[in-house]
Symmetry: C2
């Protein structure tokens, strides 16, 4: 049986991708170590045998190979979304991103080479670029100087995939994600702010001075773009994925959270232009390459944020 | 006692760097796993206690830390030259470059963070750029798409170092080496050709069609440039290091070897424009950044090749 493998498929973006793949008629094997992922939402799909799940540490090629063998399926493509999504955690302990963000890529490539899997779709990140202070970044804009271990290990992953394409891998797509919002939220600025405001409904404290600005994409748009790109031709393609705008500020996100949950609350900003070490405070994408393929996001950054605020508030049973 | 640590200091470039550091009055601790390195040339320096040597696998931070503790010295800077220098070996088995080229960097950074070592000088490579088909590459020219696992793991190393500078490392210099020639040669096109011609003195077989062209720098110039850059200010600096010319072709190198060793030999070229998978056949550097600091190479690519041919022939006791 021909099956798509989704590594990290139980995470926030993974769950959304898996549902879209199954709805598109594919059979899917999800492998995830469940360090951050959840499988509750897969209940009906698992019961109907449209989805297989194995709890696997994807940074170990032998474990991964054994899990696929045991499942008795032939993998025709891999979607690799397994990574440490907690960037500050990776900054205090670099081994977190080494293992979860890079060694997963390394092991998945080992597995694919041995199993002869011909196509890889990889979730990379705007974090590979580092801090270009708001310059609109095209896919080729150098230098690439990631300022977090997360970004470093995403760049390392891209590099290892590129070398594999040269040597043996028939096809790879690299998706450079912007900030992605939606549900089920496990981390990120909107979830943080929603939870903070739930604890102190009259006051919302914000990390940084609120001027941080980045593109935000709703996960529904993101998944649609990934499926769109996977349908294109090309041996090794790299895409910035984002909305067609200059992004949203943390101030506007805080205001959207307050307006939805507690309109009279006071918002208290910090003084630093960054939220934390390793955070890029001003980021813009040039998405000409993606637009030229005929795809564009349904929601702007501001719309994606507002929709996610409503969804995450509901997830947290708050509004 | 204040000491410079040189990781990979028993390799080709390492031995030359170590000698220059000692001649400049520094005390040096060499750590090397001796997988490719040799210590014979250190005899007198070791005897005079100007140099300490420990056989260490630098991809293991605890082993490295223990070796430094046991040596009873305070490390004030690290020169990191430890890597797999056999690029084809790394292409057939990616774990070679993972361990020797990247995990060495990862472990050295762990050691430095724990020990509070404030400065890192890192041997990177033109291989991080990938194949730009002869475009003159500045340090910021993207995209960076290495086509060998060696190049991928050098890029991964640069990325991890950049993230460390953001979080805790006070100072890092990144040297992007071109092809480097000289003695003691352990690998590379000149040594290959010298040895081939020694086996069949009337015929020199060359991998590829001879049109491959890259900048070649003599190791004496390389070491001088590294010491020059180490003396500059700056928190995180990246330099292409090379001669001020467009390079030398493999054809010209083969001719230099033939002319020196066996002038009547026939040279037989292959048909492929590349020597092997993962080889970049046309490479040029823009070295404006380095020149602007007031440094330039003494030898051109052609002169470096000719000098190295003479030196390597002597090393092999052939000419």
């Amino acid at each position: 049986m021909r099956v798509s493998l989704v590594a990290g498929g139980a995470g926030f973006i993974g769950q959304n991708l898996v549902r879209a793949l199954v709805e598109g008629g594919r059979k899917v094997l999800v492998v995830d170590d469940l360090s951050l992922g959840r499988t509750e939402s897969f209940g009906a799909l698992l019961a109907d045998d449209l989805l297989l799940f194995r709890q696997v540490d994807c940074s170990d090629a032998e474990t991964l190979s054994a899990a696929v063998r045991e499942a008795g399926v032939e993998i025709t493509e891999v979607w690799h979304l397994a990574a440490n999504s907690d960037i500050p955690a990776g900054i205090s302990d670099p081994t977190v991103d080494l293992k979860r963000t890079f060694l997963t890529t390394f092991a998945i490539l080992q597995f694919m080479r041995e199993a002869g899997v011909p196509a890889l779709h990889f979730a990379s990140s705007s974090a590979i670029y580092g801090d270009h202070r708001g310059l609109a970044l095209s896919e080729d804009t150098g230098p690439w100087e990631p300022i977090s271990n997360y970004g470093a290990m995403k760049l390392a992953s891209e590099a290892q995939i590129r070398a594999a394409v040269e040597a043996w891998l028939p096809r790879a797509n690299i998706f450079r994600f912007p900030n992605v919002v939606g549900v089920p939220a496990t981390h990120g600025v909107i979830l943080d702010l929603v939870r903070k405001l739930a604890r102190t409904p009259d006051r919302l404290e914000v990390l940084g001075d609120g001027t941080q600005s980045k593109p935000y994409l709703h996960v529904d748009d993101l998944v649609e773009s990934m499926l769109h790109i996977a349908g294109l031709d090309g041996r090794h393609r790299v895409f910035n994925i984002g909305p067609d705008d200059d992004g949203a500020s943390v101030r506007s996100i805080a205001e959207a959270v307050r307006d939805h949950l507690s309109p009279d609350a006071e918002i208290a900003f910090g003084t630093a232009p960054r939220g934390w070490v390793g955070d890029v405070s001003q980021m813009r994408y040039d998405i000409s390459r993606l637009k030229a393929t005929g795809w564009q996001a349904r929601l702007s950054s501001a719309e994606a944020v507002r929709r996610a605020v409503i969804q995450i508030s509901a997830q947290e049973a708050l509004g």
